[in-house]
Amino acid sequence: MIKKTFIAVTAIAASLLSSAHAQEPVDALNVQDIVDRASAAAYYQGRDGRASVHMAILDAQGRERTRDFVILRTDIDDLDNGEQRFYVLFERPADISKTAFLVWKHADANDDRWLYLPALDLVKRIAPSDERTSFVGSHFFYEDVSGRGPGEDDHVLEEETDAYYVIRSTPKDAQGVEFASYKNWIHKTTFIPVKTEYYDASGEAYRTYSATAVETIDGNPTVVEATMADTRIGGETRMSYGDVAYDIDLPEDIFSERYLRNPPRRHLR
């Protein structure tokens, strides 16, 4: 009897809560839709694109290291959350200047990755690595740069505010990741993830992503500055994007060995 009452009360409370927060897009959207659209807004804007990226990596002692690279991206068949190709040309620091990095991102398989070392004229195929390890020594993981598959977690809409969908995501395969869950504040109008907090098994937040500046470029709201702080590693990385452009008609063959050896200079500027 008590149990039944409890369930009824919970159900009523839940329905009240959800109707109170029901706004226009929410009715039509289930959680997976929101997550899919957030992934598309963060990683699939436009058909293709280019950006100059500056990373400032602050370690736990406050020492700074920097990375500068140009990144080119194309979406195969202009499909959101589908296959993508990335071309990254490092500019600084000097020891990795002119090193080129090519990624073919697959939706359902390990990414294919190549690295070109100009001093040796060597095209090296890189073994797939844990997606949740540091990208070029920063606090961003590979997965933060190329996107975590929206199907890799179970998503629950925890809260809805005027500005945000607040979504809690729990990994389907807990073995493959270092977090127990994460929470995403997704901007309702643009679907841009504004903040992401990662929690350990005890519910403690240890890793925080924050989008700190957004610009609308070629009609696409774009995060142009973001930070990732990680208390386990200590310190944080600030990543800023300049010279962002979309729909620049990148030929698909740019993402091949030919351009690893000879950078596509015309498209990098």
Partner: protein, 487 residues
Amino acid sequence: MAHRRTIFYATAASLILPAMAVAQAPPPLPAGLSSEPAEQSERQNSTTPDLPSGLEEPSEPALPPGLALEAADKPRDTSRDARDDFALPFGLSGFAEARLGARIVDDPTQKTLSVGEVRIQLERDVETEHANFRFVGDFLYDGVAGDHSVNLEKGRGFFDLREANVVLRPVNFLDVKAGRQVLTWGVGDLYFINDLFPKDFRSFFIGRDDEYLKAPSDAVRLSAFSDIANVEFVYTPRFDADRSITGERLSYFNPALGRIAGRDAIIVADLPDAWFSDDEFAGRAYRQIGAFETALYGYAGIWKTPEGQTPLGRPFHPRLAVFGASLRGPLKGGIATAEFGHYLSRDDLAGSNPLIRNSESRLLAGYEREIATELTASAQYIVEIISDFDALAGALPAGAQTPDRVRHLVTLRLTKLMLNQNLTLSGFNFWSPNEQDGYLRLRASYKLSDALLAEVGGNIFYGADDNTFFGQFENNTNLFVGLRRNF
């Protein structure tokens, strides 16, 4: 009284604030997402995320500048830290380094120092509308070398020209690279089958940076691209030999003397050096099939090391042709590689001349994968099979030692990144089970800053016999340190 009130408010706040934290206010909208310009006054207390410029709702994350309906007041700070930005003038970049190493095994035929040098590498790219030019040159003071006169072919002296080339695209499907350049292809890891471009094993063995394993070629490279396959030709009008072990700096086994020799018996080989007749052709056709890269190779030229001897005992470079193939692709969470090459010793097609290296087949199978966080392991198994073993064995003079028909080689590489990827530890071991010898390369490099790299390493040769490939270098076992400043 007023004092008491203050305490009350403070206590109330301390009770309420943690509760707010638990309720977890949403993050402030970042610049660009907020509907109003950022205002300091709209910031939340420290337990909830800051409202980035321009969110009205104080209880959630501030919209970042840019998500606001109005533009943020404050322009984004795009300034870059220039602390480490000492730059060279005239668009030059490069590095300066010092490297010092010593033998840890007594070698009566060599100096104790294995490497002791200061090097400045300068590079410059010049881009024009139709062509890209590239120059890379090393100014070098080498305290171990005996001869400092410049020889750009041998890489001797105070200047070593690494690259001086132009890249052109006369038509859309064709790239042409002409001039001095470094060339590499094939899928082996520190083992080359179809890559017959010049190597510098001296640099490799004494602990110079890996890039110096590749000696430059003076060549023209034509690369044609199509959907069916990509085809490349490299023409080297005058033979480029390996910078191989001659005894000058590293000791080796001298069969005529029957012992390890060094500066007391320097190999002076006849070098084929006639333009357009002592030339080399190398070709490759490659395409990707799914996730796998496939390639076919061909080479017509000359053995890169002096693999022949005249009847009077003078070493020379016999003619050579090679054809082969390679495959590389993903397998069970790692990368699998396979390469094959048949070496045709064109001056001894019957294989019965013991003074010229026999024809042989070389096969390689490799696998690499990440076995733990930032720890990558790779292994290769390699065989070299003498083609006309019976003819060779029958032609050997009485008393001469018969080589093994098959040489087996196993390589193992471990690479570990630590300390935010600033420390790299790596070990690479070559080991031949049938020759019972090997070579262990150990490296530890640490990035003191973005510009400064410190390195220590060892090159350890071991073997049961003096006359095996790695065993003959036993007395060259060395340790080294290096410091490099990039700019």
